[in-house]
């Protein structure tokens, strides 16, 4: 997907929302958890049972309910990995389902990977070949080498963590190089090896005051903005300070959407929250 395609979706949906699929087995509604104890289901020509069945059922309901109100989905890998290979199977099925059913949606692997070139190449293969994600989040500590293999795939994006939304983001991200804070050094280094057509940055919503500062030296790239909802950031402020002439923002909400209700109406409740978040 190109940056223009993504902007068209933002205009069509009047939304910058990315729904974070941080699907936790323990936090699903009880009737969905219970499915893991029932028999299996057939889904897209394959047969699934156990926790895989629950995760797939939950994700399908959330995806169907929120797709009209969002432009992107972002599975968080940790939640799938925690269920072992059963979880990875559920992840693969969920990504296939989005790709086949909602082909205009942008799909992000929230993986925060970051390793030497030889290993980064395998991660790029994982998310862009084995699975069909549009983008992967990357932790930049080990330098530009961690990102290069991801940039070789046309129409795909690396999303590098620059300034994160969590409380300990200030531990290291404000270190200094040539009188600039590390998050700026990271952004400028990554900009020098990429284009806005294959690079985005993670900028936390809890740092909304920083967004306009960062826009001054990074006008064109999309920012993926977590921290709205459960983490306390304001989508309105993010849009005010962070948008550009191509939209320029994907505003993520995970827990506030997924777990809007623990009842049978969870999907409807998720749709309602999604319809009210990150509208433009």
């Amino acid at each position: 997907m190109t940056r223009d395609d993504l902007y068209k979706q933002i205009l069509a949906k009047k939304s910058m929302l990315c729904v974070g699929l941080d699907t936790s087995f323990e936090m699903m509604p009880p009737h969905i958890q219970a499915m893991a104890r029932d028999g299996g289901i057939a889904f897209q020509g394959k047969f699934f049972q156990g926790r895989t069945r629950s995760v797939i059922s939950f994700n399908k309901a959330i995806i169907d309910a929120t797709a009209p109100f969002c432009v992107a989905f972002k599975p968080n890998l940790a939640f799938y990995e925690s269920l072992g290979f059963e979880g990875m199977k559920a992840l693969e099925v969920s990504v296939d389902y989005i790709r086949n059913t909602y082909p205009d949606h942008f799909i992000i692997a929230d993986a925060k990977r970051g390793d030497i070139g030889n290993t980064a190449k395998m991660y790029a293969k994982t998310y862009f070949e084995t699975m069909d994600f549009d983008a992967v989040t990357i932790s930049p500590y080990m330098g530009s080498e961690t990102v290069l293999p991801f940039l070789e795939y046309k129409g795909k994006f690396a999303i590098v963590v620059a300034l994160s939304s969590n409380s300990s983001s200030s531990d290291f991200q404000f270190s200094v190089q040539n009188a600039k804070p590390l998050y700026q050094v990271v952004i400028e280094k990554m900009m020098s090896i990429s284009t806005p057509e294959n690079m985005m940055f993670v900028i936390g919503a809890t740092k909304a005051d920083k967004l306009s500062e960062i826009r001054s030296f990074c006008p064109d790239n999309f920012f993926l903005v977590p921290g709205v909802g459960a983490q306390g950031g304001s989508a309105e402020e993010v849009i005010k300070f962070g948008s550009n002439d191509k939209g320029g923002l994907l505003i993520n909400s995970s827990r506030a959407v997924l777990y809007a209700s623990k009842g049978e109406d969870f999907a409807k409740a998720a749709a309602l929250v999604a319809s009210e978040t990150a509208c433009i």
Copy 2:
């Protein structure tokens, strides 16, 4: 496993070697790759076929051949993930095999994970509960929060990347905070929230001259040292500058051991390289 247990193994084996299981389907000997096209095998009471069978067969042969000459194994997650859930199944089986057959060996998930607390908790669950690793490598960009959930498991270790072995490690790791380079800031921050019984650091072998400097402010923690072998670092120099009174080092070699031969003798060739690497 405690630091003392690990030191006892180092003394018993006269080795600081960690064998990196960066198992690449494409780099395995042709006769092992071919197994993916044969029928399945039963292994530890379960049935495996396809690429899972090849990876399990390769890992078992490497593990059996090198176990007498090493104290640790370190599967690199990227290589398993690139095969999708089949690869994750092979990973789980490999970890179980090491744990059950060689219970004195230390098992490291080379994952370079690093995310906000809520997500870090799920990664800790993945590697310490869903799978039975002793340690996980962590990328520190997002701060101390990325590490805390891993420290709650007794007898388990977080291994934080401080100074990596790759060429682009200098992009960001020498940024400055309070007149100290970032790798030192990372180490000191992590030391302040942990003990040498639950924290190790990744220090690249290609930075051997830095090892004695780092020992001056971090005398007690184990260092996991990648970069020996294919990446050009010297194990002798690493031991000279980096060891302490508990051993203090796990020296990793991956490609040089795994792919010592592409013939039927690959395991024997791996054992020979392992027996000559990181001896004390």
